[in-house]
């Protein structure tokens, strides 16, 4: 008995890999249809921060994620942009991750068309810059000192979207969507230093780490992982990839729990019987 159990325990891990692949592929092919219901406070706070901005306010989005965290963060960014456009906010986009430029392009090509928003009038995409600190500090006194053109080389001075926007004082909110520590930079080097409201969207991995900033209100809100994306999508009532993603993750989550429990129960059994 013991030997059989131990053998079971030393199973080739590739079987486990296969098991996971199956539990994820099946719901993609045939969705289960269990929508996300609960909405966390932190996500609601982001939603409300955007909701209370008057139309025409300038929202700065720092979209710093590359394809490697796209499934989590892209739906989030998309939901945020949709929300901003539906509230007729002006949107400026900056990025400090080279790999994100393609995703930003994709996002605005799609959502811009949905809401009939024009590049240069309703939103502006600024080019990638390598040094995050330098740019953040510079934007506190004059953003044109570092950004003179948009990503296609068009002069940004005089663009309707940037009318009256020069420093953080002219921006109503900064939202940073990232899988890196860039949100920490926004909090420390911009939010706290220049008293700018900063909210964030992060991968589920870094989400618990922002608890202290949320409690102190250094962060106005936080969207965490695919669950957060699904929550935001349901807040703006536009289900997208976040909502369908959560549905697909149901079984896989249970699988992990079952695996941890099984292995530890086997271990107990082997030890005491």
């Amino acid at each position: 008995m013991k030997e059989t159990l131990q053998k079971f325990f030393k199973i080739d891990r590739r079987w486990i890999f296969l098991l996971l692949a199956v539990t994820l592929v099946v719901p993609i092919v045939k969705p289960i249809g269990l929508p996300n219901k609960s909405i966390s406070q932190a996500t609601t706070r982001v939603y409300e921060s955007l909701e209370k901005l008057p139309a025409g306010s300038f929202l700065l989005l720092s979209l710093d994620y590359d394809p490697s965290t796209r499934p989590e963060l892209h739906p989030m960014a998309m939901a945020l942009v949709r929300h901003a456009f539906s509230r007729n906010l002006r949107v400026g986009v900056v990025t400090y991750i080279a790999g994100s430029t393609g995703l930003i392009e994709e996002l605005f090509a799609k959502v811009g068309k949905e809401y009939n928003k024009k590049d240069g009038t309703d939103y502006v995409i600024l080019p990638y810059q390598p040094n995050i600190l330098a740019v953040m500090t510079q934007m506190s006194s004059d953003l044109y000192g570092i950004y003179s053109k948009d990503r296609n080389g068009t002069d940004i001075a005089g663009m309707p979207v940037l009318k009256g926007v020069k420093t953080y004082k002219d921006m109503s909110l900064v939202v940073c969507v990232t899988g890196t520590a860039i949100l920490d930079y926004w909090v420390a080097y911009v939010g706290d230093k220049y008293s700018v409201p900063v909210a964030g969207g992060v991968t589920a991995i870094s989400q618990p780490g922002y608890g202290p900033y949320l409690q102190t209100n250094q962060l106005k809100g936080l969207i965490g992982g695919m669950k957060g994306a699904a929550e935001y999508e349901s807040l703006i009532k536009q289900p997208g990839k976040g909502t369908s993603g959560i549905d697909a993750l149901n079984l896989a989550h249970l699988l992990v729990l079952i695996l941890i429990l099984t292995s530890n129960i086997i271990l107990l059994f082997v030890k005491y019987f």
């Binding site: 080739d12 590739r14 890999f17 996971l20 692949a21 994820l24 592929v25 993609i28 092919v29 490697s68 965290t69 796209r70 499934p71 989590e72 080279a98 790999g99 430029t101 080019p127 990638y128 810059q129 390598p130 600190l133 330098a134 500090t137 003179s148 053109k149 990503r151 080389g153 909090v187 420390a188 080097y189 706290d192 230093k193 991968t203 589920a204 991995i205 989400q207 618990p208 780490g209 202290p212 409690q215 102190t216 209100n217 250094q218 965490g224 992982g225 695919m226 669950k227 990839k241 993603g245 697909a248 993750l249 896989a252 989550h253 992990v256």
Partner: protein
């Protein structure tokens, strides 16, 4: 739905590269290695093209050609960084590095003090200023945050030996850390699955008829490869892999 040839070709390429990388899960193989090396090069290539188009041309080339020569100073400092590779004059790179380090450190110190230090103390004690309107459970939670933070800090306190009662305090600290780690673990599970879901979702798209079943065909080809490889490479290697 009829797709453009370039999109179908793209679908095949993406599906192929994705499956090549996943094939590492079965075992290391040449296809994985090719995809991995391609990734290295492509990543660098992307960074290179973005830097050229977003920084070098607009921030250096254009100002210089317009006669704004001041940008030459930082450019030279930047170029000096590259002397690292030439041992004899590698000290020149220090001019660039020290500039970067000085700037970064100077910004980091006050920001760290205010954000991660003072604000955190303030955040811990502020809830108590609303004592009158708090429920007993709120008070308990606020006390837990404050007490927990103190215990964790004490766990990392290296100037005294942790003995007797002090040992107990630092032990309580560990449990707070463990809850935090547990939360992080749970969240990470979700994060990783989401990424996998993203890739599978793409593969599912490419498996459609409009892409001429790219996923199915490439997957089948990989399986055939592994079967053939297993047959020809002999049993010895296979059993070794099993053990891994």
């Amino acid at each position: 739905m009829v797709l453009d040839t370039s999109i179908i070709a793209g679908g095949w390429l993406a599906a192929g590269l994705t499956i090549f990388l996943f094939s590492f899960l079965y075992k290391d193989n040449p296809f994985f290695k090719i995809a991995e090396h391609l990734y290295l090069g492509a990543g660098m290539g992307w960074l290179f093209q973005v830097s050229v188009n977003s920084v070098w041309i607009p921030k250096i080339w254009e100002p210089v050609s317009k006669g704004e020569l001041l940008v030459i100073i930082p450019s030279v400092m930047g170029l000096l960084l590259l002397t690292q590779f030439i041992p004899k004059i590698s000290w020149l790179s220090r001019y660039g590095f020290t500039f970067m380090m000085g700037y970064g450190s100077g910004l980091a110190i006050p920001a760290g003090l205010s954000t991660d230090f003072m604000s955190q103390i303030e955040g811990t004690i502020r809830p108590f200023s609303k004592l009158a309107s708090m429920t007993p459970f709120d008070i308990f939670s606020s006390l837990l945050v404050a007490g927990g933070a103190i215990c964790v800090l004490f766990y990392f306190f290296f100037s005294v030996e942790h003995k007797g009662h002090l040992k107990k305090v630092s032990n309580i600290g560990i449990y707070f850390l463990m809850i935090y780690f547990g939360a992080a673990f749970g969240n990470t599970v979700m994060a990783r699955f989401s990424l996998l879901y993203g890739r599978f979702d793409d593969l599912f798209t490419f498996s459609g008829g409009s892409y001429f079943y790219a996923t199915h065909i490439i997957l089948a080809a990989m399986v055939v490869y592994f079967v053939l490889h297993g047959l020809f490479a002999g049993k010895k290697e296979a059993s070794e892999e099993e053990a891994a």
